[in-house]
């Protein structure tokens, strides 16, 4: 039990550090964030492995800890879209510059790994095989019934609303290539003797449309407010971030590489999505828990009520602490 508390505390501290790192001068320090993410993983492992009957962990498939959509079946990984975020968190995003690109939640693919670019995503999906298909299937399954319930107070939001939505309405255009790091560099890799690896400059990563940015149209609206085709593009980045099991450091690295803006909300969304991998118990599982946790500090930032009571009640104590934090 002590280990669990210690681990809990360390997770809180680590999350705080990563959260604060976005504001520091000079950009995110990759090294420090990597180390913090390693501590997070260690603490998480201890937390999850320390048997303690009193604490109930969300994240088991089918766990009733968090409200599910009616008729929604949460099957195995990675289909855990059943977990909605604290719905009011959807409204918690001040988005001064909604048009700013969300850098690299998506991964720059290896040459040859890139899937044929869907029209809305552009190049840059790094889904791996079967996992991708499962995710895709899960997404589709999930977003169907979800579309009708959007961000209403007390109502678990739809799959696309898993990330808190900001009030910023504009959706970022797809396919704008962010600054490619090699192109930006004035020193091309000049080496007659060595095989360039990867081949040529890395393909530009399109800025993922941040689901949060649907904001105004998503929050508090009914089904009529959410055009079905409009939600389609939002699936892609969501799915991609779902697939990523890496830590915040990876997200930070993405920030470094392709970052176009220092937009705070973007950063939080990146960290938020990456935490899902950190915090879920099994690959693809436990998203509920992750969502609750990551939304907590971020939603709390603008000072709005981030959790409605029904939701809070259902989140396990660990998540609650993080939310309060």
């Amino acid at each position: 039990m002590e280990f669990k508390l210690e681990a809990h505390r360390i997770v809180s501290i680590s999350l705080g550090k990563i959260y604060n790192s976005r504001a520091q001068r000079g950009g995110i320090k990759l090294h420090k964030n990597l180390l913090v993410s390693l501590v997070l993983r260690s603490a998480r492992q201890v937390y999850l492995s320390d048997p303690c009957p009193g604490l109930y962990l969300a994240g088991h498939p089918g766990a009733p800890a968090l409200p599910q959509q009616p008729g929604e079946s949460v099957s195995g990984p990675p289909a855990c879209w059943g977990e909605p975020p604290p719905p009011a968190a959807c409204a918690a995003w001040p988005e001064p510059e909604p048009q700013l690109a969300l850098p690299a939640v998506l991964e720059v693919p290896r040459a040859g790994d890139a899937e044929p670019a869907a029209p809305v995503t552009g190049a840059g999906d790094t889904l791996q095989g079967g996992e991708a298909e499962a995710a895709e299937a899960a997404w589709r399954r999930v977003e169907g019934p979800r579309e009708t319930a959007v961000g209403g107070a007390g109502v678990p939001a739809g799959g696309s609303d898993i990330f808190p939505q900001g009030p910023g309405a504009a959706r970022r255009p797809w396919g704008c290539p962010p600054g490619d790091e090699d192109k930006m560099s004035a020193s091309p890799r000049v080496d007659g003797c060595r095989a360039p690896s990867p081949a040529g400059p890395e393909p530009p990563v399109p800025p993922a449309v941040c689901p949060r940015k649907r904001g105004a149209e998503g929050v508090g609206g009914g089904p009529a407010d959410r055009p079905a085709p409009g939600s389609t593009p939002l699936k892609k980045p969501r799915r991609n971030s779902e697939e990523q099991s890496g830590g915040a450091a990876a997200a930070a690295a993405q920030e470094e590489e392709e970052m176009e803006t220092g937009n705070v909300a973007n950063l939080i969304s990146i960290f938020g999505s990456s935490f899902s991998g950190l915090l879920r118990k099994s690959p693809g599982g436990g998203r509920e828990e992750a969502e609750g946790e990551e939304n907590g500090p971020e939603a709390a930032e603008p000072g709005q009520i981030c959790c409605d009571k029904p939701v809070l009640r259902d989140i396990n104590p660990w998540s609650t602490a993080i939310v309060a934090f």
């Binding site: 210690e6 681990a7 360390i10 501290i13 550090k17 001068r25 000079g26 950009g27 320090k29 990759l30 090294h31 420090k32 990597l34 180390l35 390693l38 501590v39 260690s42 603490a43 201890v46 690299a104 991964e107 720059v108 693919p109 290896r110 790994d113 790094t126 600054g179 790091e181 930006m184 560099s185 004035a186 020193s187 091309p188 890799r189 000049v190 080496d191 003797c193 060595r194 095989a195 690896s197 990867p198 990523q244 099991s245 890496g246 830590g247 450091a249 990876a250 690295a253 993405q254 470094e256 590489e257 970052m259 176009e260 803006t261 220092g262 937009n263 990456s274 991998g277």
Partner: protein
Amino acid sequence: MTTFRKHSSSSFNFAVNFSLVADVISTVEFSHSGDLLATGDKGGRVVIFQREQENKSRPHSRGEYNVYSTFQSHEPEFDYLKSLEIEEKINKIRWLPQQGAARFLLSTNDKTIKLWKISERDKRAEGYNLKDEDGRLRDPLRITALRVPILKPMDLMVEASPRRVFANAHTYHINSISVNSDHETYLSADDLRINLWHLEITDRSFNIVDIKPANMEELTEVITAAEFHPHQCNVLVYSSSKGTIRLCDMRSSALCDRHSKFFEEPEDPSSRSFFSEIISSVSDVKFSHSGRYMMTRDYLSVKVWDLNMESRPVETHQVHEYLRSKLCSLYENDCIFDKFECCWNGSDSAIMTGSYNNFFRMFDRTTWRDVTLEASRENSKPRASLKPRRVCAGGKRKKDEVSVDSLDFSKKILHTAWHPVENIIAVAATNNLYIFQDKAN
């Protein structure tokens, strides 16, 4: 040589204290001959000190370091593409070997390396024809006679001018630069890549190490420090956040992603904690002057490696083992991320590194004795010997001991340098620079 083997106290004395009020010192480096000492600070300034020549009329001032030149090396920048502010803090300074009257050094911030030329001017030309002494142009029609300008002595003026700017080669933050023994090339290392430059060419660099994974989610380690071998111009080492060191040979392949040697000490499973990974991260790596050994600094210890033995270090010196039980608090206050540097003395018989509470530690490799000294104004009167300090880890605190709980963690000595030949050390304590010399000198 080092005399602290004879006495329990070090005979380092003669503290010269310079207060650089403006900013925290971020790097300290002696030149190859030791007559110049460069410091960089968080404000992007470089301050160079010069050792005074021996002067019979002022015997006590022999060896004093006085300010020689001050210039602004880097300014804060804004990367508009990434909406990132680029700090002007000087991360590293490295001197080039002296080749003429002028002196050259490389200074770097997170993104840009600059080559600076520091030259003296002690003569001035006078007697120009087309302009008078004020510099105003003379009316050519009024010039009736021509004269040859003559050189007249003037007060010494030290000028620093940027000769090269090496920019736009690093996506991540530069942590190291190292001049090659060929005196023509140098490397710069950031978190994931190491680039090789030619000192004359600024518009391109060769990437020789790239550890960026194709999928950043798989990132597990970053490069923390890199250095060229002091004699073999094809050999370099780089350390990682996982506590490993890789030695690369540029002759074996142009891209040194595959190492020639891999140095790693197996982890002691009994000391595993949440923070094992953090404290094993190597913050500095330095070759010995001989080139036979290298030294690495992690959070709690300094290790000396024989380049011929990859399996474990040949020496491990504990810097502040009493902090091991405090790692959680040090994680909370971010001290666990402090990057301490380390340095060799000229003969490789002693090593030095910093700690907290303005303490720094010296280890004599031949006698295996170590000493803790403090860099503080109260304790350092000029020409007084430094008193060794002791930290009480627990139990009854003896007189003159400092208890672990009363250590001031805001007073950290991250940057130290040792004169390449003599027993003179430079210790940076936040925004103060201390220079100590051995009494025997």
